[in-house]
């Protein structure tokens, strides 16, 4: 079946850390320019799953994956696939803001420089554009030489989003991007995510069910390595088909 709206076609993936079976036979389709949220209790595999989507698990020595993940009809895990290109196309923002210990400007320029963009005017333009898209430009435009680590947590996280945007990805993966932030900073990031879906496909892992309900179009509920339910966010939060999902979203466990 060919559907141009589908960017990720995940078919029957299983994953292990050593002997531990962390993802069990998961299939999912992720749609273009939508926000897909992954929720579930700690240790349910949602972050592992997210990291499979841009091969960030490659660095974990005892990690093993079976099954197939197609990104626009290309197999992400085929031997011919270049993981560097994969990660460039499918960017990621992490749980804790992790700006480089460099200036704000260089934090964003870094990703461009590693691809050989050295033209100063071009760099300047992309830095400004990325910071604007990350809703950070007005706050930092006069201090681009300041160390990124000197920013507040929320600003750092937006800097990381700007950094991810700068290399012009098609997808941005968010791994609990607000779990280290206060409510005001969280609200800003959520607004931003809703903006971003106009241009990018967004997949977000979150602990916060209200967040999933607020920002996402589709929601997947993971538990103990199983994808229990995956559907429209509205449906998941109003009339979940599975009893486990209902118990989780109504706060009966988790």
């Amino acid at each position: 079946m060919v559907d141009n709206d589908i960017v990720f076609q995940i078919s029957n993936i299983n994953a292990w850390y050593g002997e531990k079976h962390v993802l069990k036979d998961i299939s999912m389709r992720i749609k273009q320019r939508k926000v897909t949220a992954l929720i579930g209790p700690s240790g349910c595999g949602k972050s592992t799953f997210l990291r499979c989507l841009n091969r960030m698990n490659d660095f974990i020595h005892n990690f093993r994956l079976e099954g197939r993940i197609l990104y626009k009809a290309q197999d992400l895990y085929s031997p011919e696939t270049d993981p560097i290109e994969v990660r460039r196309t499918i960017g990621m923002v992490f749980q804790r803001p992790n700006p480089f210990p460099k200036s704000i400007y260089n934090n964003i320029a870094y990703g461009l420089q590693i691809f050989g963009i050295k033209d100063r005017a071009k760099l300047d333009a992309i830095v400004e554009d990325s910071l604007r898209k990350a809703a950070l430009w007005d706050e930092v435009k006069d201090n681009l030489g300041q160390n990124g680590l000197a920013l507040s947590g929320g600003q750092q996280q937006r800097l990381c989003i700007a950094r991810a945007i700068a290399v012009n990805p098609e997808v941005i993966l968010f791994d609990e991007p607000c779990s280290a932030l206060d409510p005001v900073a969280t609200a800003k990031i959520e607004d931003l995510i809703m903006e971003l879906k106009n241009e990018y496909t967004v997949v977000i892992v979150t602990h916060n069910m209200q967040q999933a309900a607020r920002v996402s179009d589709y929601t997947g509920f993971f538990m103990l390595g199983d994808l229990v339910e995956f559907d429209d966010t509205k449906k998941i939060f109003t009339t979940p088909a599975n009893k486990l999902t209902e118990d989780y979203i109504t706060g009966r466990f988790g």
């Binding site: 841009n54 210990p101 290399v167």
Partner: protein
């Protein structure tokens, strides 16, 4: 009512005793250092009563044990400098490459096995390195460089570099390993290669630790004694030619200490002046190391 008094006073005496014992231990090392500095200082002071400091710093010959006495420390400094420079040329590039490999490329298991083995290199007695330089490396080098003397700066310099390498790699690796993996992930997620992550993210972030490992390595090379005493020769020479016999400050001190130079003579006092010079060098290096650490910590980039 239960009385607390007796127990408390006994405990207080015990606490005071512990306090005093710990203070004593701490002061012991401080007093030793002060004692060494004072001894060095007074003997050096005596030395400079007889030899002008200008001669000491400008003369290019060092012949205190000969009839025609010259006291130009520069010859010994040159020897120390050339050997240390060669050692650094070996230890720094290899050390940092080892560190990058162990920290960024190797599997954790490989690292667990290899790192202790590298550190064993540091445990080999320096006298063994000295004979290794004299009896193995020098003859080997001679087959490439026919003009090489039996005693020279090159061979002990190279061997000293090998000896210092584990220190550089181990300390640099510790510094790189301490760089949070979140920084690496951030760069990987932008599509950086392993090499780009290592050179553009990890090394800059670990720079203060790497730099201080370099400076400590220099300090170690400057103070290293046995290898140069055995393999570099005993000819103070104001020259940076690595192919001829030279003498370092440390090797000179050994030479006089082992000889029959009577205490109190000017020949004997030279070792304190030489020792003072060495002390000033290492002190300066340690200060530089601290300064580098502070500077790079502040900027952290």
């Amino acid at each position: 009512m239960k009385s607390f008094l007796d127990r408390r006073s006994r405990q207080r005496i015990f606490e005071r005793g512990i306090h005093a014992a710990l203070l004593l231990c701490a002061s012991l090392s401080i007093f030793t250092t002060i004692g060494i500095i004072l001894a060095l200082f007074f003997e050096t002071f005596d030395f400079f009563k007889e030899v002008s400091i200008i001669e000491f710093l400008t003369d290019t010959q060092w012949t205190p044990l000969f009839v025609d006495k010259h006291f130009g420390i520069l010859s010994l400094v040159a020897g120390t400098f050339i050997v240390s420079l060669i050692a650094m040329c070996v230890a720094i590039p290899l050390g940092i490459l080892c560190a990058i490999y162990l920290s960024e490329y190797s599997s954790p298991r490989f690292r667990e096995v290899v790192k202790p083995i590298l550190e064993v290199l540091a445990g080999i007695p320096t006298v063994v390195y000295g004979y290794f330089a004299l009896l193995f490396v020098t003859p080997l080098l001679k087959s490439f460089i026919p003009g090489l003397s039996g005693f020279n700066a090159l061979s002990p310099g190279i061997v000293m570099g090998i000896m210092i390498l584990p220190m550089v790699s181990s300390m640099s690796e510790d510094a790189m390993h301490a760089v949070p993996s979140s920084l690496r992930e951030g760069a990987y997620a932008l599509g950086a290669t392993r090499f780009q992550v290592a050179t553009k993210v990890v090394v800059p972030a670990a720079l203060s630790g790497i730099m201080s490992s370099f400076v400590l390595a220099v300090s170690r090379a400057v103070g290293e004694t046995m290898i140069v005493t055995i393999a570099a020769g005993q000819q103070p020479r104001f020259s940076l030619n690595p192919l001829v016999p030279i003498e370092t400050i440390t090797a000179y001190i050994v030479q006089v200490s082992l000889g029959d130079t009577p205490a109190g003579t000017i020949e004997h006092k030279t070792i304190f002046a030489a020792g003072m010079t060495l002390f000033i060098f290492t002190l300066a290096l340690n200060l530089i190391s601290n300064w580098l650490k502070e500077r790079f910590r502040e900027e952290y980039r």
